[in-house]
């Protein structure tokens, strides 16, 4: 394996559309971290999956991207938005009015549960008009775009626009919400558990449509979820969060085929899979820590089968596994041999990987 050193040293040279540097969110005057020193470059036109369990800080990461951390959270670090290469906007320094514009016109967000995002007394069409008017966008052109987006999402535009939210199924509402979030032609779509309330068939169907939307509208997508298997086939890259930090980041195919952080490996083994032998699925032992109680050193060490003295005292940095794949673990090389996976892992079967 040859590692090109210039890639390793200057990963920031890749075309990032959003760069987070040392972003932290604290509550209780700095005593509890709900996002701990996260650095991440989101590349233009990629779909990145941010994966973590409840309370791992993944939604906080999404809120940070738009400087929308709920009070009284304190956000620090830097979030740069680059609408085109070589143009930098420091999101955390924007005025309120600039932020409002950024939030729909450049970076748009979709949350779980469309029902709570729509006003139940307004027809879908009025939501589109209201959004367009609030951003001084021409309504007629906008509605034409709405028609096209709804069709892209396998919806009948006339019927959907003329309906009240409750007259649509959950899957239709969520797709209408995605269309609404794209009506002002943003470059980035951030989705926080956008399909979690839906059945699996609708979730997969929406994922398929998101892939098509990305191609058609040159979008960058950030997909936040607790469901690693679901997002694995959608995302180009996966970022795994544990206890408010990023523990593993890499191309989706590498993270799934050769997962490296012990936590990622445990998480994958805990996942019911149609093909894995039943006897080899096992839960992740122990509990994730609360924000006030994050263990010293590597925050995963109390649950990790490989923990050593070093893990208890020192914080592991993100170590490059391949030029594009990092894991924050002192023992990632052992993890691959010591923690076996319950589905076929490529390259480690006969031990020659070592």
């Amino acid at each position: 394996m040859s590692i090109s050193s210039d890639v390793l040293n200057e990963p920031q040279d890749r075309d990032a559309i959003i760069r987070m540097d040392d972003v932290s969110v604290t509550y209780d005057s700095g005593d509890s971290y709900v996002l701990d020193d996260v650095s991440l470059a989101i590349e233009r036109n990629e779909i990145i999956g941010i994966v973590g369990e409840s309370g791992s800080g993944k939604s906080m990461l999404a809120s940070s991207l738009l400087d929308a951390v709920p009070d009284p959270g304190q956000l620090s670090g830097s979030v740069e938005y680059r609408p085109v290469q070589d143009q930098n906007v420091e999101v955390l320094a924007l005025e309120d009015s600039e932020l409002r514009a950024l939030r729909w016109e450049e970076i748009s967000m979709v949350f779980q549960g469309a029902m709570s995002s729509f006003n139940p007394t307004m027809k879908i069409k009025e939501h589109f008009i209201e959004t367009l008017e609030a951003h001084n966008a021409p309504v007629e052109t906008g509605l034409n775009r709405a028609h096209e987006l709804l069709e892209d999402l396998y919806l009948k535009p006339g019927r959907v626009l003329g309906s009240y939210p409750h007259e649509l199924s959950g899957g239709m509402q969520q797709r209408a919400l995605i269309a609404l979030s794209l009506v002002l032609e943003p470059d980035v779509l951030v989705m926080d558990e956008p399909t979690a309330a839906l059945d699996l068939l609708m979730q997969q169907s929406i994922l398929l449509l998101l892939r098509e939307l990305r191609e058609k509208y040159d979008l960058t997508m950030v997909f936040i979820t607790h469901d690693l298997p679901l997002v694995a086939s959608l995302a180009d890259r996966l970022a795994v969060m544990y206890a408010f930090e990023l523990v593993e980041l890499g191309p989706a195919s590498e993270v799934i085929n050769t997962p490296t952080h012990p936590y990622t490996r445990a998480l994958l083994n805990a996942t019911p899979n149609l093909n894995a032998p039943l006897s080899e699925m096992r839960p992740v032992k122990g509990k994730s820590p609360a924000p006030i109680n994050v263990p010293s050193g590597c925050s995963y060490h109390p649950r990790c089968p490989l923990d050593t003295e070093e893990c208890r005292t020192n914080h592991p940095p993100a170590d490059p596994v391949t030029p594009e794949h990092t894991a924050a673990c002192f023992h990632w090389e052992e993890a691959r041999t010591e923690i076996s996976l319950n589905y076929a892992e490529t390259g480690t079967n006969d031990g020659d990987w070592r």
Partner: protein, 352 residues
């Protein structure tokens, strides 16, 4: 009498009527469950899978006597439960006993636990009902030992907490414990693990199966996720029923149904189940002609799946395929019938 299954649904239908309202001038009938038969044996696991709105929850509730069918019969150990309820049965069995032996746990455990009562008091209630002769300290001992059993240790500490002081997984364990204290024959687990993090689901399913052996109960396990249904059903040596618009499209043992699906809709559900081994080959094309489920007020003619089915032909639009039972399974599709006129009929056009 000894051959009667624990629970049997015979040709059960549940139709809900939407009253004519301000906006509609006719009342509409939603066919939530339509002419469906199913048996649940002792220590059985029956999983029901399907999309939102396919009727799996209605069917589950009908099976445990929470929903009265508009047609057909539900029998418990051979006795029609609604005759017992109406006092028209000569069975030596009361409605209360039936309801006690058929329990439910929901998707959202938080909402089914009284927020103002401690866990000890929540769990004392069913015990008092089932074993009124138990003294306070004996009751407490039993609750503590059950809490330890479901992994909530130290039990005394957990018993003193209020529901909001527990995590989602712990709340679900309390709900499961409460159901088990009623000494039920059947527990309906309605998406009971869906709200839990992926990493906690296997653990919860393991616990449910472990306790099945201890408490001697059967499960009706409702899920929209085929891989969870597979895990639960196969460990419990049961069967999976695939529901579509109020009917059973296919029933069979877990492994057989997943490895060799006979109904095109089962294949579609399999397509929708994430597969880690296929991360490099993401699903490319929707395996159905339409994304959305048809309106259950006006289900399609013939085979109900024909409007979305990738294999549909003219014959499917006109004729309803009756379920074809095999040894342990049953399929409601012409493709499982080698001599069906289906094979000589024309494929349906894109938008039919």
């Amino acid at each position: 009498m000894s051959t009667d299954p624990l629970l049997r649904l015979e040709d059960v239908a549940v139709h809900f009527e939407n009253e004519a309202g301000l906006l509609t001038d006719e009342s509409e009938v939603v066919q939530a469950v339509d002419g469906l038969s199913l048996s649940i044996e002792e220590n059985d696991v029956v999983s029901l899978v399907g999309e939102s709105g396919c009727g799996k929850t209605t069917l589950g509730k009908t099976a445990i006597g929470l929903q009265r069918p508009t047609a057909g019969r539900v029998t418990y150990r051979g006795h029609d439960i609604w005759s017992v309820r109406d006092g028209e049965s000569d069975a030596d069995l009361s409605w209360q006993e039936i309801r006690q032996s058929l329990q439910i746990i929901h998707q959202d455990p938080g909402s089914s636990l009284n927020p103002n009562r401690r866990i000890l008091s929540i769990l004392s209630e069913p015990l008092r009902q089932v074993n009124p002769e138990l003294g306070t300290s004996e009751r407490r001992e039993r609750i503590y030992s059950l809490l330890e059993r479901v992994g909530m240790s130290p039990a005394q500490d957990f018993a003193d907490r209020y529901p909001h002081q527990l995590s989602g997984g712990e709340q679900q364990r309390v709900v499961l414990s409460r159901a088990l204290l009623m000494n039920p024959d059947v527990i309906l687990a309605d998406e009971a693990i869906s709200a839990l993090d992926v990493s906690l689901r296997v653990e919860m399913m393991d616990l449910m199966l472990e306790l099945q052996a201890v408490f001697d109960t059967s499960y009706i396990f409702i899920s929209h996720d085929l891989s969870n249904a597979r895990y639960f059903t196969q460990h419990g040596d049961g069967k999976i029923g695939v529901m579509y618009l109020g009917q059973l499209a296919e029933v069979g043992p877990a492994e057989q149904l997943i490895e060799d699906p006979q109904h095109p809709y089962t294949s579609v559900l399999r397509w929708a189940t994430p597969d880690l081994a296929a991360v490099d080959t993401p699903p490319q094309e929707l395996p159905m002609r339409k994304i959305d489920v048809p309106d259950p007020i006006d289900p399609p003619s013939g085979c109900r799946f024909h409007t979305r089915c990738p294999e549909a032909r003219e014959h499917c639009r006109q004729t309803d395929p009756k379920p074809v039972p095999a040894e342990e399974s049953s399929v409601r599709c012409f493709r499982a019938q080698s001599t069906s006129p289906y094979w000589d009929s024309e494929p349906l056009e894109e938008n039919d």
